[in-house]
């Protein structure tokens, strides 16, 4: 239900909501969105919805207090005290649940917790920094926090990006159509590519990492890199597409990251709303890169440790954050200039090292991780019962998904489709992709053993 690619969402919740939303007079549409979002969340989290509502109300309360400091004599001090209190609450809540999750298993975490809390944190800091054009009302604030397209997995939109304080929101048929096309593109990316490539990664796991050949280890890393991208990009496209359909702006979360010329650039183009969150609320407040190389390095380290921890509590995520820190530090210190001169080398570097970092991200058990990396770089030999021809089998089974994936990673392809999105052929393609995706979703739901064919 809370998954955009599920049948309940596509054919039940969303059409019903859309009808109600557009029948509602413009003046009350934000209320409709607020109510719809609460219903949406309650379907996924019948208990934690209360926590969400309390968090919304408390954050609104604090923000109002921070905002009202502008009228007091000691405005600066007042704002600071109050923002600290608000942040202690939000970060405390996040940390408490993450700790609980680390001990009791991630099932205990409320859906979308890190995403709506990050929105709340950014909202408090923006208020503190005096970036609010006017005093935010409860309705706008609450809608911003809970709007269902962004509630579960982002993108982490900023308050000012949402156009909440503009005179009137514009609604049009064109936007409805445009948003729908984004949604379908995202649906296809997730269902037709990510979900298929996920099976390759599962297959490799099933063999046991100690027994895969080196080419298969790299194929797996490449496949997983694409799967992760298509899964999250597809999701973000669906989320932003829904936003556009409801009259909100399109929030970009991925800008063809695999076409980057350096790891630093890759991370400016991957999960952009998270990256810019850490940049604006951690990296720059710490001094950014203005205070010498040593401080810059410290700040980078802080950002990457936090990024690692945000993704998960186990040791491999810290290792993953550190490896990215190391790569970006090396680029800043030495390789950056080389990549500037020879962009081709940079691209090659990205395509070579990013999949390795994703393997560190994916394999949570350190011993297993060591085995996988050992197969990718078999300098020490190793490998038990390796079938050197396994690569042929898996290439044979997955080459078309991998090829389609590579093509879909090329910026020009989606740019071309976007540019010609009103062309009848593209319209037809969109419709086809939609029904094909639905067909696949039905087959999977209908057949819970889809992954398990013996």
């Amino acid at each position: 239900m809370v998954i955009f690619s599920s049948l309940e969402f596509i054919f039940r919740f969303f059409p019903a909501f859309l009808a109600v939303y557009y029948i509602t007079p413009k003046k009350y549409r934000e209320w409709a969105l607020l109510l719809g979002s609460i219903v949406f969340y309650a379907m996924g989290e019948p208990y934690y919805v209360l926590l969400l509502l309390v968090a919304v109300w408390l954050n609104y309360f604090f923000a109002k207090k921070i905002y009202s400091c502008r009228d007091t004599r000691r405005g600066r001090k007042c704002r600071k005290d109050r923002v600290v209190a608000a942040l202690v609450m939000d970060i405390g809540l996040l940390a408490a649940f993450k700790l609980l999750g680390a001990f009791l298993g991630s099932a205990i975490l409320p859906l979308g917790l890190s995403f709506f809390l990050f929105k709340m944190i950014s909202f408090q800091i923006d208020t503190y920094r005096g970036e609010m054009v006017q005093k935010p009302g409860f309705r706008q604030t609450a809608v911003y926090f809970v709007m269902f397209p962004q509630l579960v997995s982002g993108p982490i939109m900023r308050f000012h990006e949402g156009g909440f304080q503009e005179e009137e929101r514009e609604y049009s048929w064109e936007k409805l159509e445009e948003g729908l096309q984004y949604f379908v593109a995202g649906l296809g990316t997730k269902v037709l590519l990510a979900d298929r490539l996920a099976i390759l990664w599962k297959d490799i796991h099933m063999i046991g990492y100690e027994s895969i050949s080196t080419p298969l280890a790299w194929l797996g890393a490449a496949g997983y890199s694409m799967e992760l991208y298509f899964d999250f990009w597809g999701y973000s496209l669906m989320a932003s597409g829904i936003c556009v359909m409801l009259g909100y702006p399109f929030i970009e979360n991925f800008r063809h990251p695999y076409a980057s010329r350096s790891v630093s650039e890759f991370w400016r183009r991957w999960h952009m709303t998270l990256g810019s969150f850490f940049r604006d609320y951690v990296y720059i407040p710490l001094g950014g890169s203005r205070e010498g190389m040593a401080v810059t390095m410290r700040n980078l380290l802080a950002v990457w440790l936090l990024t690692g921890l945000w993704h998960g509590g186990s040791l491999n995520f810290i290792l993953w954050g550190l490896s990215l820190f190391a790569l970006i530090a090396i680029e800043k210190l030495a390789l950056g200039k080389l990549f500037g001169k020879f962009p081709f080398v940079g691209r090659f570097f990205v395509l070579l090292v990013i999949p390795v970092t994703w393997v560190i991200f994916a394999v949570t058990d350190l011993r297993e991780l060591g085995m996988y990396l050992g197969r990718m770089f078999p300098f020490a030999g190793g490998g038990i019962a390796v079938n050197p021809r396994d690569i042929i089998k898996y290439l044979g089974m997955y080459w078309y998904y991998l090829l389609a994936g590579v093509i879909w990673c090329i910026p020009a392809v989606s740019q071309f489709l976007k540019k010609h999105r009103r062309n009848p052929a593209v319209v037809l393609l969109t419709v086809l992709v939609f029904w094909l995706s639905v067909y696949c979703v039905v087959s999977m739901e209908n057949n819970p053993f889809a992954y398990l064919k013996f």
């Binding site: 054919f11 409805l176 159509e177 729908l180 599962k202 099933m206 029904w435 039905v442 087959s443 013996f454």
Partner: protein, 423 residues
């Protein structure tokens, strides 16, 4: 409104087609989709239509429920049109026969026609759904492929055999060492003549059921017990099975010696009719049955049954299993047939799965074990060496609770070596 159509073609098309598909689902829920598992609260009606398509039931068949049958006016037109197009399809198949496709693959064609008619045999859909889905996914990505569900089985068939190609290559390499341990002095015969003479023998056996003693000579009545053999024992062996046997082929280290006719999700129902082998001369794909006609084996190992857990009963399963064993006996009169117990699943899987659990596996294994006569059909159960104290697949040996990790296929191979029969 005109403005709307111009501005929102995708929205409009999806809304209209969605409404249409839902309508078909609702209508069909009283007729063609009646048997499908469906809860109004949990799934939209159009899922019925899509499920139907994935199972080979065409949406227009739902129309029969609302007076659109072949004898009513608008329905008769539709019926004629459908009949016309099917007539063309049939017109093609004689050409195929003329091209020399042997009788067995005709049976395959027959089942394809069944698919078109919507009478899909139970086994055909379940686990194969996803494959059909993925192959059509490919077409969609290319942007050219329509959603042509009837064509799907074809496409997925192509993919499956691509996957199994490797197997038959492996089989080819070992082809040279053929009949090293064979006792049949007559060597290779004409396949046709062979099958002819053998079928009579098989007929007698079938008639006699399991108790074949009456027809056999005194010498044949001897029973044998297991002993340890060396790897060259597999030189004239063939393995038939599902993904577990595929794993044995890939990681067991005997792929150079034995032939493997194995495929993911293979069942007892298609064990002989799947095209998993290659003709040694022409290189064309042939069915397992044809392969067994062409080459004489000393040992035939079977492990099948886990994919069938969800369909039919142990009795219907065994009925088919006995037929397959009888047919193999017919084609390979001198081979030792090993019917292997189905490898179990882990305790975790056992506890959470209503279908793929060890209770069901044990039930089938007990039935399979009864086929053994310890003269030329032997039951062996690898669970003896891969299970833990509680009789579940050892959790350390697997990631997905069902398949051995690559390095543990060695255990299976060793078990086979310790359970050789020498006559």
């Amino acid at each position: 409104m005109k403005d709307f159509i111009k501005k929102c073609p995708v929205f409009l098309t999806l809304a209209v087609s969605g409404a249409l598909f839902s309508l078909i689902g609702i209508i069909g829920s009283f007729s063609v989709y009646k048997e499908y598992e469906f809860h109004v609260a949990r799934r939209p009606y159009l899922a019925l239509m899509i499920e139907g398509v994935s199972k080979g039931t065409m949406p227009w068949e739902a129309a029969d429920a609302i007076g659109m049958g072949e004898n009513e006016f608008p329905g008769s037109l539709l019926y004629e049109w459908r009949n016309g197009s099917r007539g063309q399809a049939i017109g093609v198949s004689p050409d195929g026969e003329a091209a020399g496709i042997p009788a067995e693959s005709d049976a395959g064609d027959g089942s394809m026609v069944d698919l078109e008619n919507g009478k899909v045999p139970e086994i055909g859909n379940g686990l194969d759904n996803q494959e059909a889905c993925s192959s059509s996914g490919q077409g969609g990505q290319g942007g050219a492929g329509g959603q042509e569900p009837v064509g799907d089985p074809d496409v997925s068939g192509g993919r499956k055999s691509a996957g199994s190609q490797e197997l038959s290559e492996g089989a080819d390499t070992s082809g040279g060492q053929e009949s090293a341990g064979s006792q049949d002095a007559s060597g290779k015969q004409e396949p046709e003549g062979n099958s002819g003479s053998r079928s009579t023998a098989g007929g007698q056996r079938e008639a006699g059921g399991q108790d074949t003693a009456g027809v056999q000579t005194a010498e044949d009545n001897r029973t044998y017990s297991f002993q340890t053999v060396t790897e060259d024992y597999f030189d004239d062996a063939v393995f038939i099975g599902d993904s577990r046997t595929v794993g044995l082929f890939e990681y067991g280290g005997i792929e150079e010696r034995a032939d493997f006719y194995a495929k993911i999700s293979l069942t007892i129902y298609d064990a002989l009719t799947e095209e998993l082998a290659k003709d040694k001369e022409t290189g064309k794909k042939i069915t397992v049955e044809e392969a067994l006609m062409q080459k004489e084996y000393g040992k035939v190992y079977l492990m099948l049954g886990i994919n069938e857990l969800g369909t039919g009963t142990t009795d219907t399963f065994m009925e088919e299993y006995e037929k397959v064993v009888a047919r193999i006996r017919e084609l390979q009169p001198n081979a030792i047939i090993y019917v292997q117990g189905i490898m179990k699943v882990t305790g975790k899987k056992d506890g959470e799965d209503d279908i793929f659990n060890n209770t069901n596996i044990e039930d089938k294994n007990r039935a399979i074990a009864k086929l053994a006569d310890n003269r030329d059909v032997f039951y062996i159960d690898v669970n003896e060496v891969v299970c833990d104290g509680e009789g579940n697949l050892n959790a350390e040996y697997t990631i997905d609770e069902v398949h051995l990790k690559a390095k543990y296929y060695e255990i299976w191979k060793q078990f086979l070596l310790e359970h050789g029969i020498v006559r």
